[in-house]
Amino acid sequence: MSDQTTTERARPEPIKAVPVRHPGRWVTIAVLAVLAAMFVHLLATNDNFRWSFIFSSYEEGKRGVMFTGPVLEGLRGTLLLTVTSMAIGISLGVVLAVMRLSPNRILSSVAFVYTWFFRAVPRLILAILFGNLNILWSRVGFGLPFDKQIGDLFGIDNFNGQFYSIRAADLLAGFVAGMLALGLSEAAYMAEIVRAGLQSVDEGQTEAAVALGMSRFQVLRRIVLPQAMRVIVPPTGNETIAMVKDTSLVAYVPVAGELWFQLNAVSARTFVVFPVLVAAVIWYLIICTVLMIGQFFLERHYGKGYGAAARARQRLRDIEVEQGGRVIDTGEGR
């Protein structure tokens, strides 16, 4: 039919119009260009940055502050702390999210109270608190709970039901305290993110999987979580990037094997403040840039098969509208 119309009528000339001008944009660009030039000029000419202090040598016979041994050790500690606390945060967060969505009231309220507590307490205070927890106990370990009380009950003096224990001051100080504080606090945020992700997956997916005879764990692991990932990954990436920065808080636990602690130590010893801060900025920029690139690829991986699915869903909705909404009424009205 369209062939006919083209043969009958000649094609009109393509439109050649003068495009709309945007003078405001050009003014903005000019202002930004001037500001950028001023900034570059500042970096290049102001001696107080002391670039050689940062990059080449901060003292006789030493490398630049960014690359000295202790600072690099601190960098390693920061990365390790980020990875371990995020690992705690994500795994505990998944557990909490599943608990929160449990039909069992007790499980879901426990998850709620956990989230409430750890979201309400500032991370800095939490970190210092965990660094001081060894005030409460002399030893921590695994074993029978309430062993002392049980011993008293049966008249046994010094009854010890601990299988394994170590001095609290050794365990709950420094790195472990910082890791626990950050990880447990992160779990509260991750729980909310994972919960939103799980709830975003269409209920029909669970039904189809259950109807095939899959167990609840299999449904979660194979069907729901992979689809929830599309919703979970972007905010988790942001959380990880935020975590890199929050590791600097554990310098006050105190944790010595950490980037900001080590840079701070240099500035305390040399009385040079500003270049040390700039060095910190550069290191955190580098780490976060790498993470952002990783996040891009992760998001692309979990978006697999979705561009087309969104189109299909749109088509399905169109059909429903064509059928006078009958599909909605029997499928989703339940």
């Binding site: 039904e207 259950v210 167990s215 194979r222 697999k304």
Partner: protein
């Protein structure tokens, strides 16, 4: 073609959602090899009943047996015990279900969709499952699409994959919940063709549908439900040509 064993038996099944009673005493028998079509207006409880058969919904009263097994419960010493998750899953393995909205797993390819349950649930050898899955997909006319994602397929193709996915578990009973209601009119035929093919092979099927033509041509038994009860049942041709009940007549006059 139809055997004598009862594949599905529903005795006085009741189901409520809160204070709303959706099923008010359903009695039904589907013999093995039979195709039972369930018709009825929206909200008559037909989909809910189908979901009760494989225990996706818990019934409030009555009994449902599939191939002689009481669904969802164990009766011991006159007392009912709820079955654990594992036992319910085991019962569901032999019951295939096809949904109105397909519910394919969008993050898996067509082949992975079909292979998932046999591999994970039945723990069958991957190579065997793959061969069978490809054969199933060829049977529903989608041998070319094994590597596609569901989102790249038309509705009719997705529904045929969903049927292949259910068949891959070698079910003894197939439940269809309005399998063609979400499809473009020109795609309905391809799905019905697959279902007819299945019926010819002697699969026991319970089909909730609005396709009167399908019910007449393929059905061995037709159930008409309204308001949570079975209003009328019998041979499809007779019920459709000569409905005995006023409500059946009213419904059929609207759809035919």
């Amino acid at each position: 073609m139809t055997g004598t064993t009862e594949m599905v038996r529903a005795d006085n099944v009741h189901k409520s959602f809160g204070s709303l009673e959706v099923l008010k005493g359903i009695d039904l028998v589907v013999r093995s090899g039979e195709v039972c079509c369930v018709l009825g207006p929206s909200g008559s409880g037909k989909s809910t009943f189908l979901r009760c058969v494989n225990h996706l919904e818990k019934i409030n009263a009555g009994r449902i047996f599939v191939d002689g097994d009481l669904m969802g419960y164990r009766e011991r010493g006159g007392k009912l015990h709820e079955l654990g998750e594992k036992d319910v899953a085991k019962q569901r393995r032999s019951i295939g279900m096809v949904f109105q909205r397909f519910n394919l797993f969008p993050h898996m390819t067509v082949l992975q969709n079909v292979m998932e349950a046999p591999c994970r649930v039945k723990k069958e050898a991957k190579a065997d499952v793959r061969d069978r899955a490809v054969a199933m997909l060829e049977r529903v006319g989608l041998g070319e699409k094994t590597g596609s994602y569901p989102g790249q397929l038309s509705g009719g193709q997705q529904q045929r994959v969903a049927i292949a996915r259910a068949l891959a578990m070698r079910p003894k009973l197939m439940l269809f919940d309005e399998p063609t209601s979400a499809l473009d009119p020109e795609l309905v035929g391809e799905v019905l063709d697959v279902m007819k093919d299945l019926a010819r092979d002697g699969m026991t099927m319970v089909v909730v549908t609005h396709e009167i033509g399908f019910a007449r041509e393929v059905g061995d038994n037709l159930i008409f439900m309204d308001g949570g009860v079975v209003v009328e049942q019998g041979a499809p041709r007779e019920v459709i040509a000569n409905p005995q009940h006023e409500r059946t007549r009213a419904f059929l006059s609207k759809v035919l």
